[in-house]
């Protein structure tokens, strides 16, 4: 067979493999997250009303399927007459963007620290891990609150808070992986072929750390969403009038009896998204674990 034929057959086989593995993808978490992402990105186009401008004359309208409801305000309105659905949609954007950005930065920093501690070892390892211990020994929510009050409410600060609380978890896990991977023969061989420490960390250790890192990321995203909502609920999150799900729950707190929908729907949204990410994490872990054991 010609080389080109061999190569084409190989590529087709690889594509078929990817398509086949897509079939195994669990629908529910993927659909949930996909929908959230789409909603977050297309908020400007799909939200029926503005999330911040309210019409006092239609405040506290119940969801459309109930008595007194209005079809153009599908999930009702809050006490300022703002459309719950629209706020929910924009809230998705807030939650998703905080979660994604915060997790990315935290994972990056935590991974770097973990790689250095695990691979370089010795003094560097001791210092970095003691630092991680210090950060981890404080209860997360407490730190979050204190920092939020000290730093003030803003998008950046929420990301910083997540970073401060969460980096040790990533660092610890990556360090553990790095410690076991660096004993592998191929790492010894890479060093024996004259590859420098940083190149070894980047090319050999890091790619083999990615599977467990991916699992951790999916699980922590749910946590970050909840943290952001908690901070918003307590009034120290992203400032108004940005419609965070947490803020919506806070707003509806005093109306639980008469206008339950203001707090209910954002609560459901949080629950669904966390659930979706956790299920995704389970699936990722199941897929990657057996392969991990090969090493």
């Amino acid at each position: 067979m010609l080389d080109s034929t061999i190569k084409t057959k190989k590529t087709l086989r690889q594509i078929a493999g990817v398509v086949a593995s897509l079939k195994q993808v669990p629908i529910v978490p993927f659909a949930t997250i996909f929908v959230m992402m789409v909603v977050a990105i297309t908020a400007d186009w799909i939200a029926p009303h503005s999330p911040v401008e309210g019409n006092l004359s239609i405040s506290l309208l119940p969801p459309s399927w109930m008595d007194g409801g209005n079809l153009s305000y599908l999930l009702g309105t809050d006490r300022f007459g703002r459309d719950v659905l629209s706020r929910l949609i924009y809230g998705a954007r807030v939650s998703m963007s905080v979660a994604c950005l915060a997790i990315t930065i935290t994972a990056a920093l935590g991974t770097l620290v973990g790689l250095m501690a695990g691979y370089l070892g010795g003094f560097i390892d001791t210092i970095l891990m003691r630092l991680a211990d210090v950060f981890m020994s404080f209860p997360g929510i407490l730190i979050a609150l204190i920092l939020a009050v000290v730093l003030g409410p803003s998008f950046t600060n929420v990301v910083i808070i997540v970073l401060i609380i969460l980096w040790p978890r990533f660092a610890r896990q990556v360090r553990g992986e790095a410690l076991s991977i660096k004993e592998q023969d191929f790492v010894v061989l890479a060093r024996a072929m004259g590859v420098s420490s940083w190149k070894v960390m980047w090319r050999h250790i890091f790619p083999n750390v990615i599977p467990s890192l991916a699992v951790l990321v999916t699980f922590e995203v749910g946590w970050v969403i909840i943290l952001e909502a908690t901070l918003a609920f307590l009034g120290v999150g992203i400032p108004p009038p940005n419609p965070s799900w947490g803020v919506m729950i806070a707003d509806g707190r005093n109306y639980l009896e008469m206008a339950w929908w203001i707090s209910f729907f954002p609560g459901v949204a949080i629950g669904l998204s966390v659930f979706g990410f956790n299920m995704l994490g389970d699936w990722v872990r199941d897929r990657l674990d057996p392969k991990l054991r090969q090493i």
């Binding site: 190989k10 070892g121 191929f186 060093r191 072929m193 420098s196």
Partner: protein, 319 residues
């Protein structure tokens, strides 16, 4: 070409100092092969790592000695200079082909890594070199195989790839640390033949770290028998089979099962000693059939049996 003088590599652990390599001397000439033989735990692999200065450094340290590569002591070189020697002048093949390769990259990428670093090539030129070295280790269809991942290959093929990586920058010395132990017997023979062919073509020297006298007989010019961190006997290969002097060597050779005569399998009584609590005299004394009182008191001096044969044993000393 390679001369090791009085090399001492100790591991400083909480339970004591483990004298993994305790003052060994040997020489490897150009194009010659040395077999470093001994049981598990005798220090042969640590010797290999010490030559490359890859001893894991928190517990381990090279305390003393000189390792002369073409006359230059590489123990005195900086880490940066060592990185130019590793892979280029000295390479290593490890025992387990399964873990010797990074599962995340194609074998072409892994072979190409050393080529990129040491020969400063990029892209197509790297690929060409990779194919060239794959041909050298007799991997069929090298252009296609270069895109394979390690898990797509058999053990024997992987060990060839490991060989390819080691030979990619034309080193002068190859250290083969039990290269065939994980392979099945027919593949073992093929692999050794391959190494012999490569040696004939390139004049490379090979140090075989092994417990298998068969490999020594087939591939090596000289052999050093190690026990508890020391070389107890060193000679030309033919002589070690014809005239083994050290009781440990004799015992090891007796352990080899014989195919011509039906006989019971022989073992050496006792266990390898704890390297952190070695006795003052000869380390083999507790298990030696020819033990004398002096063996427990002083470590045997070196005795030259003839020009090419030395042994450390009181049995052969004039006393």
């Amino acid at each position: 070409m390679l001369e090791v003088r009085n090399l001492k590599t100790y591991f400083f652990t909480r339970h004591g100092v483990v004298k993994a390599v305790d003052g060994i001397n040997f020489r490897v000439g150009d194009g010659e092969n040395l077999g470093l033989v001994g049981e598990s735990g005798c220090g042969k692999s640590v010797t290999a790592l010490s030559i490359l200065r890859l001893v894991p450094s928190p517990p381990g340290r090279i305390l003393e000695g000189e390792i002369l590569l073409d006359g230059e002591d590489i123990l005195k070189k900086s880490e940066a200079m060592m990185r130019k020697i590793r892979g280029v002048k000295i390479s290593i093949i490890l025992q387990d082909p399964l873990t010797s390769l990074n599962p995340a990259y194609t074998i072409g990428d892994q072979i190409g890594e050393a080529v990129e670093i040491h020969q400063h090539l990029r892209g197509k030129l790297v690929f060409r070199k990779v194919v060239e070295v794959l041909k050298l280790v007799r991997v069929p269809e090298p252009e296609v195989r270069a895109g394979d991942y390690p898990h797509q290959m058999s053990g024997g093929m992987r060990q060839r790839v490991a060989g390819a990586i080691a030979l990619s920058c034309q080193p002068r010395l190859l250290i083969a640390d039990e290269p065939t132990t994980s392979l099945d017997v027919t593949i073992q023979a093929q692999y050794l033949d391959l190494l012999k062919q490569i040696q004939e073509q390139s004049g490379i020297s090979i140090v075989f770290v092994t417990h298998d006298f068969g490999i020594v007989a087939r591939m090596c010019d000289h052999v050093a028998v190690m026990y508890a961190g020391k070389i107890v006997e060193f000679s030309r290969v033919k002589e070690i089979f014809d005239n083994p002097c050290h009781p440990y060597t004799t015992a090891l050779l007796k352990c080899l099962p014989r195919l011509d005569i039906a006989s019971k399998l022989v073992t050496i009584e006792g266990d390898v000693p704890d390297l952190s609590t070695l006795p003052p005299g000869c380390s083999f004394a507790p298990r030696c059939a020819n033990r004398k009182p002096i063996c427990d008191e002083k470590y045997p001096e070196e005795v030259m049996i003839n020009k090419n044969h030395r042994v450390n044993c009181w049995l052969w000393s004039p006393q």
